[in-house]
Amino acid sequence: MSDSKPDAAVSAPVVRPSPLSPHLQVWRWHITMLASILTRATGIALYGGLLIVALGALALASGSDAYATYLGLVGSWLGRLVLFGITFSIFYHLAAGIRHLVWDFGKGFEPRTANMSAFFCIGFGLAAAVVVWLLAVMTGGA
């Protein structure tokens, strides 16, 4: 721009609303959409998971009484429900992350492949979470 008007140079910046993706309600539900939403939701859940781990480390460093209180919280009915959700989130997000890394190489975008990988990620997340909790029950950790 060679010669903008002086008053244009001092006027407030034009506020342009952020672009929005098509609204959820106009789409028929399909599995790749569910996979996308789950990737973000489990990522947010794992933020909570990081805080739970950090609190556990803090409790452990504070001594056996503090750690026993922590174990009481995460071992409660609600605590175990949250931990099961975190377990699913770890495995689903891990599989979805690998799916994204494959996409970064430009592969796997065909609708059939994308549908199958979405289905696999969700199934893997659920199956791995169930297996881990069965192992926890078997070893006395659940």
Partner: protein, 135 residues
Amino acid sequence: MVSTSKQHRTDMARARGLGAAHHGVNHFIVERATSVALVPLCLWAVWAALKIAPSGYDGAVQLLASPINAVLAILLVLVSARHTSVGMRVVIEDYIDVKTTRVALLLLNTGVAGLAAAIAVFSILKVALPGLAGH
């Protein structure tokens, strides 16, 4: 006036802070590099959780007494703090349109992730190095 042939933004747009901050490539690389590192680290974390779940305080202390486990625990916390804060940043930027709220949440995001990492790393070191902590 356009500064060089490679830059399509005007100087005024630059002065107002409009347009890209040119941190996108760094964000892209950090997101992916941390995700690759987190594959083995998360599998280790699940293994460690299963191991210490039935064994109480002593079992958890014993796990972190092993240098390998202590180092992996520290890496897990540091890499996940980076990965989650970078990921949460995208979520905030996607959904929060009000500038003040957005900036406040972005600062909170960085602060919470940094605080969680600092607390966890110090705690792990304290448990792993009981001699230094004066036990």
